[in-house]
Every structure is written in structure tokens, then in C-alpha cells.
């Protein structure tokens, strides 16, 4: 790419930035009341979830989250379709192994805590799942080529858990004559917890598997 084109692009980007700022600033300065925010906060008791973000993610806009988990699944399946993983690093030294032996359970525990706490305070499926995934990353860095993941069929099951829990709960509710993902208020809290747990496992497993970066070598381990 030659210098003149670079300059042109930089200029255009600057103009675009100025235009966007010109449009955004007045709006940001006098941001109108968000009706949606008020409604979201007001309806929270009905969901049985204390953390408003979790309420949005798993109740009001649960459908978005369902599709998002499908995106995650699609990414993993895409990665698998491209072939086997690259070889892992060499086995870590004893000191590092000892540290990993400490860190991984800690990450898993913290992930579980975040999942559980996510109903009331900051945290939830994504953060918990991310920590599980991080545990996988650490394991792989330590030399485990599978990042602590089970054999392929189980990986497939884990990766499908999130979307699966959502779709099955949704379809069962449809079958019961309710709207898709319209939780009965008595069960809302528990259904959300079930879905969240499934999603946590799925996110953790998917992120770790994505880090491994290829289709697990068939069946056996």
C-alpha cells in the first residue's frame, strides 16, 4: 500500500470520526431517559434474579443469548472442520507443574462461584465459563495437549450443552402452551440456574477447545 493511499485513508477516517463525534456528542450530552432501563429494573423481581444484567441476559433477552451460544458453537465447529490441532508445547518443568496444580482448581472453583453468585451480584455464566476456559488454557500451556478436556464425544456434548439447555427448555415451555422461553415465575430462578450452569460448562469447554485449535483426535484418549 503506497503512502498516498495511506494518507487518504487516514484523512477519510479522521473525517468519519469527526462526523460521528458531531452526531454523537449532542446525543450523549443530553441523553434521553431510557424507557427500557426503567422497565428492565422494574421487572426484575418477576425474574427471580437479583443481578439485573443476568436478568436481561437470561430472561428478557434470553433469545439473544441462545443465538450467541450458537455463534460460539459455530466457531468451534468451524475450527474443528479445519483439521487437527497443532502440537502442544513441551511439558512444563516441575515448578510450573506444581503451580498449575494450584491454579487450575482455583480457577475452576472461582468459575463455579461466579456462576452461583451471578444471580445476585456481578458474575454469571460468561465470567464463570471464561474462568473454566482459562483453566484449560493454563493446562495446555503446562503441556496437556487436550487442555484438560475429555474425549471427543464428551467434548461435543459439552459444547452443545448451552444451546441444548436453552432450546430444550424453550421447546418444553412451548409444549406446555407457553411462549418460547417464557418461564413460569415459580420456576424462573431454577430454570435460569439450570440454563446458566449448562451455558457455563459449554462456554468453558468451547473456549478451551477453541484454544486447542483443532479437532480432537478421534474417539479415544
Amino acid at each position: 500500500m503506497n503512502g498516498r493511499l495511506r494518507l487518504l485513508i487516514a484523512l477519510l477516517a479522521a473525517v468519519l470520526g469527526a462526523a460521528l463525534l458531531w452526531v454523537f456528542l449532542p446525543l450523549l450530552a443530553t441523553r434521553p431517559e431510557s424507557a427500557l432501563a426503567k422497565a428492565a429494573l422494574a421487572a426484575r423481581p418477576l425474574t427471580g434474579v437479583g443481578n439485573p444484567v443476568t436478568a436481561v441476559l437470561l430472561d428478557y433477552r434470553a433469545y439473544d443469548t441462545l443465538l450467541e451460544l450458537a455463534v460460539l458453537l459455530a466457531a468451534l465447529l468451524g475450527i474443528w472442520s479445519l483439521g487437527p490441532p497443532t502440537p502442544a508445547y513441551q511439558r512444563a518443568g516441575a515448578a510450573l507443574r506444581a503451580m498449575i496444580a494450584w491454579v487450575v482448581p482455583l480457577l475452576v472453583l472461582a468459575g463455579g462461584y461466579l456462576l452461583w453468585a451471578g444471580g445476585q451480584v456481578p458474575g454469571g455464566a460468561f465470567q464463570g465459563g471464561a474462568l473454566l476456559g482459562a483453566a484449560g488454557v493454563v493446562l495446555r500451556l503446562g503441556g496437556d495437549p487436550h487442555a484438560g478436556l475429555p474425549a471427543e464425544p464428551w467434548q461435543r456434548l459439552l459444547a452443545s450443552l448451552g444451546v441444548g439447555a436453552f432450546v430444550i427448555v424453550g421447546l418444553v415451555l412451548l409444549g406446555l402452551g407457553r411462549d418460547f422461553l417464557d418461564y413460569p415465575s415459580a420456576w424462573a430462578k431454577w430454570l435460569i440456574l439450570v440454563i446458566e450452569s449448562a451455558a457455563t460448562l459449554a462456554i468453558g469447554a468451547t473456549l478451551a477447545a477453541a484454544y486447542v485449535g483443532g479437532r480432537p483426535p478421534g474417539g479415544t484418549r
Binding site: 452526531v23 450458537a70 459455530a74 468451524g78 456434548l157 432450546v167 411462549d179 422461553l181
Partner: protein, 481 residues
């Protein structure tokens, strides 16, 4: 009845899970899922036909809090086209991918793509469209790379990156709308949006983001290599469905919630880009050396036609004239969808038989596969817009509107596109006639050849002669509202 809306998304998802869990049985499970998804869409079409437009608030939360799904006249028709084309692709793919491992990769991704298509067509929420677009982009890129060649990988990577650029741009538009209006539901926004700088900028960002995905000229550069190098069933899905859905979303925004924001200048610009796409895509198709590349370039042209409608619809108040023109737009989109899918499936057949798809060396192969050649011919007729295909009627109505509104300059790209399309289609068909030995049968491999043929017949005969029903559905929904 309204259950059919979420089912149209969740059944393909369920199929994707089933095929993920049991990759060895992917073919059987996938076909079952494909049939079930198509059946649900059929149910939905009947429901819309008898009851008018449907809307479901998911999770029991009505807008603005929850996410809605809507089935009106236009998107129901697109949904039905998607189901038919997807079913044909599903049947064809079982034969196309001979390798069980490849089938195991294909099926879940393909069903995820289908779920994304249905989700986008039914979507009534700006952010939900973003998530759907990402699912579409990731699944599409992964599918396009299934061929595994270096060219396919490189093209798919570019597709993925361009898709990401598009969705980020789109998301900025969403953020702008949320800043100004504090909500995301299209139905509510339609009642509140007013003309203004912020709204216009938001529309520009949303359109730009979607234009990347729809391959609207000049943002089409990624499309030809991707579609030409993907496995044929995937190319069929990408060309016939993915681009159409993105184009549909642009049209939905322009004709729906943002109708008060749009200005004639913007609409004319969009039409102009469409016209450039028609001429440029057709010209490149004419120059293409390979059959699939030809089809891919022609997709750029076919997307262009849809945008020529925008400046003509811009000035029309709701009424029968507008419904007629929207119907023509849909007819064009549906015909192209069916025809392009058929064309790619047939091209894949040719490629598998000949081991290549160089147009100049096609002679013998085309002669040995009469049904496939016939499919190419019929699909070609629809791509050109010759009667009795649906696109002929669409083009007639488009010309009529252009003349009646005094915007006669749109005639030039339409006629140029038609003649160029004729030139590139018959450049291929001319190879079908040579001195090769006589084929004994019309159809040799039913599962591989018939899906494409059926799609082509739908495009040419079904949509041509039974197009009246389309307006029937559109008007049924209008009246309901």
C-alpha cells in the same frame, strides 16, 4: 400458530445439536431436521395466509423489554423460499459430500446457518439482527472453507474479516439508535423515528454494515472468490440465501422503520449502486473463465437489481401501487434465489463429473448430463429474466414503475443487465451442443441432479405462472393490518 415462529429457528438449531452429537449419523439426522424445519415453515406460511401477520414476544416479555419475532407477508415468502432451497441443498449435499467426515462437518454448520437465516428473516430487534448476522457470518465462512483448498481458505478468511467489519459497523449504528431512542424493537422504533442527523447517520451505518454482507457494489469484492471456491451446495446457500437475507434487511430498514428518515437522494444513491452492481457483475460474469466464478459474479448483479427498487419505492405512499412494486421486488428476489441455487448445484455436478469447471472445456460433460444442462439452462433463463420466469414479471413491473414515475434512467442498467446476462448464460449453454455421444437417460443420478432441477423449474414455471398467489399473500397481510 404463533409457536411456529420460534420453532422455525429452534428446529434447525436442534438439528445442529443432534448432528454435532452424532456426527456419524449426521446425514440421517440432518435430513430429518431439514424436513422438520421445512414443515414448520410450511405451517407458518399457512398461518400467515389464514391469520395475517404474526408477532411473538419471546420469553413472554413484550417490547421494548423482550425480543419479538415477526412474520409479515414479505419475510414469510422469503422464509418459504429459504426452506425450499435449503431442503434441496440438504438432499443434494448428501450426495455431494462423499466423505463421512466431511458430512459430519457440513451438517451441523449448515443447520446453524439455516437457523441464522430464519432468525434474521423473522427478527424484529436491531441487536438481535446483529447476533444473527454474526452466526450467519461465522457459519458461512466455516462452510465456505470446507473445500479445504488454499484458495478456499484464503477467500473464506477474507469473507470472515469483511463480515466482521460489516457487523461492527452495523453495531455502531445500533449503539447510535440506542443512544438516541433507548430501544431496539423495530416496531416501536417505526412509530418514533423522526428525520434528523443522528437517525440518518445511524441508517447509513446500519446500511453500510449490511451492504458488506449483501455484497452491494462496491463492497462485493469478497464475494466472487468465496462463492467460487466453496463446495457447490455451500455456494448455493451463500449466493441464493445469505446475500438475499442481508439485502432484505437493508430493504426492511429502508422501507419499514426508517421510511421517515430516508431521503430521495439516499434512495437514488442506493439504486445507483445497485445499477452499477448489475452492470459490473454481469460484465465480470461474461469475462469469467470458470462456471462457478461466473455464477458468483452474476450474484453481484442479481443483488443489484433489488436495490434499483429502492428509489422507485421511496416516493410511493402505501397503497396498491406500492404493494405491487414490493411484490415485484420479492418476486425478483425469490426467482433469483431459486435460480441461483439451482445453477450452483448444477455447476457442482458438472465440476464433479469433469473434475474442473472451465467453461471453455465443458462440452462433453454438459452433453453427458442432460438434466444438469437443462437445469443450467432453466436457471439461466431466470437469471436473464426471460419469460416465463418470475424475474421477467418482476422486471416488467420494475420497468413499468420506472417509466410511470419518470425515472426512465433505470431502464438502461436493466436492459444492459438483461443482455449481458443472456450473453454469459448462453456462453455456457452453447457448450452443451456438440458431437458427443447421445445420453440414454435424462436423469442419471436422481439425488444429485433432481434438487437443482426442481428449484430451476420453480424459478421459471412456478414463480412465473403462479406469481399471482404472492400478491395474494401480501394483500392478505396488508388487509389484516
Amino acid at each position: 400458530m404463533s409457536a411456529s415462529l420460534p420453532l422455525a429457528v429452534s428446529l434447525p438449531l436442534l438439528g445442529a445439536l443432534a448432528t454435532t452429537l452424532a456426527p456419524r449419523r449426521a446425514r440421517t439426522l440432518g435430513l430429518i431436521a431439514a424436513l422438520a424445519s421445512s414443515a414448520v415453515v410450511a405451517w407458518l406460511v399457512v398461518a400467515v395466509w389464514t391469520q395475517g401477520a404474526l408477532r411473538v414476544d419471546l420469553g413472554g416479555w413484550s417490547a421494548p423489554l423482550g425480543i419479538g419475532l415477526e412474520a409479515g407477508g414479505a419475510n414469510t415468502l422469503l422464509l418459504a423460499m429459504t426452506a425450499l432451497v435449503a431442503l434441496a441443498i440438504s438432499v443434494h449435499a448428501g450426495d455431494y459430500f462423499r466423505d463421512r467426515i466431511q458430512l459430519g462437518h457440513f451438517w451441523p454448520l449448515w443447520l446453524l446457518l439455516w437457523a441464522a437465516l430464519n432468525a434474521l428473516l423473522l427478527a424484529a430487534d436491531l441487536f438481535n439482527i446483529y447476533v444473527g448476522l454474526e452466526l450467519l457470518g461465522l457459519a458461512g465462512a466455516a462452510l465456505a472453507a470446507l473445500g479445504g483448498s488454499r484458495a478456499a481458505l484464503s477467500a473464506s478468511l477474507r469473507y470472515l474479516l469483511v463480515g466482521l467489519l460489516g457487523s461492527m459497523t452495523y453495531l455502531l449504528g445500533v449503539a447510535l439508535i440506542y443512544t438516541a431512542y433507548g430501544q431496539l424493537d423495530l416496531g416501536l422504533l417505526a412509530t418514533q423515528l423522526t428525520a434528523g442527523a443522528a437517525e440518518a447517520t445511524a441508517l447509513a451505518l446500519l446500511t453500510l454494515g449490511l451492504a458488506f454482507k449483501a455484497a452491494l457494489f462496491p463492497l462485493h469484492f469478497w464475494l466472487p472468490p468465496t462463492h467460487a471456491n466453496a463446495p457447490a451446495p455451500v455456494s448455493a446457500a451463500l449466493s441464493a440465501l445469505v446475500g438475499k437475507v442481508a439485502a432484505w434487511l437493508i430493504l426492511l430498514l429502508w422501507l419499514g422503520p426508517f421510511a421517515t428518515v430516508t431521503a430521495p437522494a439516499g434512495a437514488t444513491l442506493l439504486g445507483l449502486l445497485g445499477a452499477c452492481g448489475v452492470v459490473w457483475g454481469s460484465w465480470r460474469a461474461l469475462r469469467a473463465e470458470r462456471l462457478k466464478l461466473l455464477a458468483a459474479h452474476s450474484t453481484v448483479a442479481q443483488i443489484g437489481y433489488l436495490f434499483i427498487f429502492v428509489p422507485l419505492l421511496q416516493g410511493l405512499a402505501p397503497g396498491s401501487e406500492r404493494t405491487t412494486l414490493i411484490g415485484a421486488l420479492l418476486l425478483m428476489a425469490l426467482t433469483h434465489g431459486f435460480a441461483k441455487a439451482a445453477f450452483f448445484l448444477a455447476a457442482g455436478q458438472v465440476q464433479q463429473h469433469a473434475g474442473h469447471d472451465r467453461i471453455s472445456d465443458l462440452g462433453g460433460t454438459a452433453q453427458r448430463l442432460p438434466a444438469t444442462t437443462f437445469t443450467l439452462g432453466l436457471a439461466g433463463v431466470a437469471l436473464i429474466g426471460l419469460p416465463p420466469s418470475g424475474s421477467f414479471i418482476g422486471k416488467w413491473l420494475l420497468l413499468e414503475a420506472a417509466i410511470a414515475q419518470g425515472q426512465w434512467w433505470w431502464i438502461a442498467p436493466l436492459l444492459a443487465g438483461t443482455l449481458l446476462a443472456a450473453a454469459y448464460v448462453f456462453r455456457v449453454l452453447a457448450r452443451a451442443f456438440n458431437l458427443e455421444p447421445t445420453p440414454q437417460r435424462f436423469v442419471n443420478q436422481g439425488r444429485a441432479e433432481l434438487p437443482g432441477l426442481v428449484l430451476a423449474v420453480i424459478a421459471v414455471v412456478g414463480l412465473g405462472l403462479a406469481a399471482g398467489g404472492l400478491w395474494g399473500l401480501l394483500e392478505a397481510v396488508e388487509v389484516e393490518r
